[in-house]
Symmetry: D3
Subunit: 318 residues, 6 copies
């Protein structure tokens, strides 16, 4: 018989789930990677936002929105806490007002987890934080494949002279040799652009791009096949920008675009990747001051992280 | 020529619909069942809520959200007030802080209506109220078939030692002999569970369960066929938990789960049951403090009750 | 080489889009039609509202919600500012408390634009404003075809004795000879009615009516074919009432009806009309006090106006 | 022993105060003046608003905000329901979009109450409704004295050609011979004006005006003395515009002005008039769409009406 | 030199205060009383609420609202973390739906702290929780003196047959011999009552009662003198119901009453008690679903707790 | 006879004040200083915020909140647009994510105004923007006296290594020789501090500091005397951080502190300085995402700017 994992949520029969200090899914707040398989990690940074700020409060809100999560994921038929040890690592150190320094802090902050073989699931924070994350993963795995669900490709070069911004991280990551564009699939892009060249430039960098319209036309299994063919055997990283979802379901975000995916579509896409192994994950761009009073966006983001936990749990099952 | 029903909304050409004391669809507030065919009944109780409270204000909000309802239901081609007499019965007595006593009060409060042959449509309130409702109906009709749309099966045994809770009413109802599980269809269940056994235990009680994913795959006529086959000739009760709907469309509820039905889907399922006869109905778990400023949830719940009125109207047509 | 249009948004590389006085899509506020091809025009009027007021603040909110719009419309493959000169004309004079006088003011206010050959895109305001708009267009083009997306047909005769109301403009327009009902297609009607005769009366006036259920069953190309066949070669006017959209996506409106279109559906319908020429457009019934804190409705309305700009841009390309 | 009044709230020991159809302070909804001493009357009209509309929902919100009111007014040492019979008369007929016709409807609607000797307390609605109210009172009592607490004097002549507007009712009332300016005291005026002449013109009409700064400098007994000296033995009418209160305490109003009275100050002013007899009262300009989620403004307005009930109760005590 | 306390917030120069898992004032979450002087303790219970529920989320919100607290209390000239060791003990076990059982759980949960000599500051939760708190304190200190700031005296006997409710705890406490009414001062009572007997009955139980009007007339030093004279040498308990504050400053509460204290007044009253020693404290009735989007109520409650920390710090200074 | 000023708001009798593109108080948007006396200038920057961001939307919100402003300031007896020419200069260029570069951009952006003798009133933006403002003013006038109303002294040295932050501008300004601390008065400081040294360090820099408690104890004339004595004949700059106001009146701000000034107090302090001449003004730290739905904070900030206009108007009267 498999021993129970070292860390996980408390027995919910002892107290209502809304009691206690808010950690992700009520998992213990542990700052030592030893004995953990997966770590939720907050990155409360939003200096690099081009429109609506507030994502610095994203980790707090996602933790709050994770209160109702229970262990058994029915659609994937897996108990996400049964075969893996899950901790809430707390938040990484960041420097408000300085995206470049923060990227370094994020890489440094994740390094102990990555080195210890713990899979981090980052809770953003604006999308600029992915650069630091990719540095940490590439330091261990070499350049990785990117699987991105996002309304924007985030591959611009700069923003008013600022090179470390939430619209630029994947270009920086390519420049730094952290990503393999030819193994990466970016999907969900929609909304007005500066010009036709916006997507062309992304494709010229080597990325495959599926617009939101193209993505909506795919079944989950189609999407899954596209991702698996693209990634191949490369270590892969999954980044989920909440703005890939329609603003009705995710109003609390920094640069909303109308006419996005529904949660049913998006969660089905994520679930379709069962069996793939990812070195890390994030869910970003949750801006609580723009969320509704029911915390709809934060609860959805918590469920996205829960889907990630299901993917790692499926991998970790004996 | 059929005489006009005794009770119904006033002529809307006399005053804008937003004028007047708020009763359901502007129907008269009448506390004597005599002369009524259908009665809207508020049950402002939320002690039995496991996460977000507030459903005690559900009846007030649903009444407010019913202001715009007009008589003619185009999709069902029926004037809901032309052939049936409809009253707002007001709210039942309840005891805040005591779900068990309240169940008794609800049964007592509904008895005069049920005995007079008036079809009650209850406006919740949390889902614990359905136990009292089923007691009233079973007292007259014997055990009934349950048609449930809900994100949760609500068949647990207890909650921190409390046996009368909003997650337990259907188990209590079976124990009390109020329900025929083998004639009941529970549909829409989704979200994380405590374990695989959650749904299994429900099925072992004799209920048929359709998960949200299964339900989404059905056409309205498929669903209708499933319900009719299951219920057969048994007197049936319809319970609609607003959390079967996606939180974007129904944020004001106690235990939201992401990725639910759309209103278009759910209303089509309800409409598909035209011609069936139900002994009673409810729409529950509307929590106004979590609704948006446009009262989206309350308006939707008012429309669910309006769909119920269309079902009873179709039955009462000459 | 084509010279650049005279008016359009500033170069976004000079300042973040959220800076500056709020005009539509950051286009210059110009009150002289000379040199303009398309003009955004606010009509801040809501006296004629039958339920929730607030649309007087619609133009302000839509301008605010247009901040993020960028020039290139990827789905239509067109830069909306490259071949046409676009201005924000400001708001028309209106008289709060007097819908009849306001209709005249709107017609007078638009006349200089229409006479100068500028295509106006009106930002409402409640739907009563369309009467004044149609007067201006008919004065130049003769009676026009109406393409309407709306939850309501707005063809009633009066409202408590008031003949100039947001539920009556298209009847007034027919009476005034501004519209050709036999060339017009009204689509999206849903929700409870006063009686079967509501839609029948509209059809008897000569309009073609597609209910929301019928519309949802059409593909964009089906819809496009229906519209083109109906309109033929008649000068056409496009009116988009935001309440054709489901309240989850557009809570900020005056008379919401549950179970509406999604933005993806609605925008696809608009896009399907590429190649048609419209003499004018409006997007109406945006009521900011009922919008959510993320301004979801206003951003959607701004994107509807952007779709209109794409239609005119496609027409104006060399 | 005095018999109990015919109408009043139910025994609160039978059901929590938040149960039941929402009438003012849970008093019965009665439309026959017979047997009533005081009647709460809703006037859901906001066509005449110059800035933020929404006051048409004021009566609904004030009724909702009155739920917690209990019988005994400790500061005035009076049970407001012990010696007087209080009903909720419902809402008066009004015509949205037509302030002039509505003024007539209000006068007609109040006439049966006034003629029967019932003291009406009107729940607005924008301030234009006071014209109709004053017509009803003057028809019985002759011209009355006005005691006004308001941020604005509402004595302009017209507004964009509209003579029936919420900034003009007291000028209309003087013109119609309904008011005795020389017996009236207007207090609380503050905020930017069009010019020095604004207040001068009001004074030239014969009104006494106390600015907000002057009013704040008065003790309740000073204020009381000023009012009593001014009114003398003339039948008096009390009008309370909620915008006399600071927006922090009353955000839900149509034309807020910063730096107003606190509720403690305002309620003390009202209480200071104990012993005076008023022929009628109103509390106006409550605009629920701008209220906060705790309904702070509506609850305050309900308490203002409760203060009026205390004044009439003190008069009716044996 | 005094050694630094064992527990307290981290050095704020290492990370912005908004980072990290939310504990009170960023103090460590510690569940062992050893080495602590003061413990913040959440009690997320709201079953016993008579009007607006939601206080179960009070502890979460107060922790979130405590983020900005810094060590040095300028008005009291004390560093609240310099001479005392402060922990966040997390939340006590409670049973939703059962106030009587919960009172026992609270007493049991606090016992280890009280026995270890740790001063608890409870974060409510509705006011019913104070019964369990007083049991824990009386078990160690014998019956205590109560210093209460509250809009309501909370000394009723029952509520619809429920004896454990948020309006009854102090009667229960007297019955159980936990309180010395003759050593207790209840201040701030205001709002409509059921009858004159409400306050009389409280006084007959032996309590001294200062109404809100009386309290507002006292200077802080007057209040302090009254409290000190009343309490004498008896071990005292301080309970702060947030509804003693005006709803404009504290909208997020269960039974708001208009015209309350300002925070400046209330904090000055608390500060005036410097030098007194309290065996425990609480701040209760914070209902986050009714708070505003700036969390004004929760931030205020966090500052009330901070005032308590200053009182204990002044006592613990060498 | 004095000619009318070149720029000012349009005649309000031509259109309701809520019509038109939103500029401050409806003044024209003019980018050429020629012919202007006073210029409102937006600075939409919030990178330098330590807690709640959002002030980048401050200028938009303040413009929106200024809609109701009228020309005549009754308390100061001055028409603010009669003797001075007022423009809305639009927003300055800024660089999100880079406070240091932005300080330079602000100085450059204001230079043309300052050099042309136009008095700028800046609408923030977080308080870091004052550094750039002071550079512009000192470049023309030499080091200036600072009159500050603020909950915080903003004289720290750095924040996580960032020297250009919203808590540091006045230290930077002293270092750069832009301010004369010995001629400056900082008032309103309150809330928890890092240590006693926080205020001491400010005083050691030469500033006079009045805490909030001290300030509340002053009458407006006392305050005026203190300011005039301190400033003497030095050119003075007035900075108003909206957080000096209590959060109930100004919830929409970045670092709220409980128990602040009321607007009545604060506006009286500003008005007391009539006759003084200021080289410039700002009102900062308005964060719209945290404001209430009535825009209470933004309206208050607009009124603060209006008070500044009254001060300049009093100076410019013939």
């Amino acid at each position: 018989m498999t021993p129970a994992p070292r860390y996980g949520p408390p027995d919910a029969s002892l107290a209502p789930r809304y009691t206690g200090v808010r950690t992700f899914a009520r998992c213990p707040h542990v700052t030592d990677p030893e004995g953990a398989d997966v770590a939720l990690v907050g990155v409360p940074f939003d200096t690099a936002t081009s429109y609506r700020p507030g994502a610095r409060f994203g980790p707090e809100a996602i933790r709050s929105g994770s209160t109702l999560l229970r262990p058994y994921h029915a659609a994937q038929d897996v108990d996400v806490f049964a075969s893996q040890s899950v901790i809430d690592f707390g938040d990484l150190a960041i420097t408000p007002g300085n995206a470049e320094r923060t990227a370094g802090q994020i890489a440094d902050g994740l390094a102990p987890l990555v080195e210890a073989g713990v899979t981090p699931i980052a809770l953003g924070g604006d999308h600029s934080i992915v650069l630091g994350e990719l540095r940490a993963h590439a330091a261990r795995h070499g350049p990785v494949a990117l699987v991105l669900l996002d309304a924007h490709a985030d591959t611009w070069d700069e923003y008013y002279g600022e090179r470390y911004f939430h619209g630029t991280p994947f270009r920086r990551a390519v420049e730094e040799g952290l990503l393999l564009p030819e193994r990466s699939l970016l999907a969900g892009m929609r909304g007005p652009l500066y010009g036709l060249e916006d997507l062309d430039a992304t494709r010229e960098m080597g990325f495959e791009v599926l617009t939101g319209d193209e993505l909506s036309g795919l079944s989950p299994s189609d999407y899954s096949a596209r991702v698996r063919a693209r990634v191949g055997g490369t270590p892969a990283y999954f980044s989920f920008d909440i703005d890939v979802i329609d603003p009705a379901f995710a109003p609390g975000t920094g640069t909303p675009e109308v006419a996005g995916l529904t949660p049913r579509e998006a969660l089905a896409f994520v679930r379709s990747l069962a069996g793939m192994r990812f070195v890390g994950f994030d869910v970003v761009e949750v801006s609580p001051p723009y969320d509704d009073s029911a915390q709809t966006t934060a609860m959805l983001a918590a469920n996205v992280a829960y889907e990630f936990l299901a993917l790692t749990a499926l991998e970790s099952q004996p």
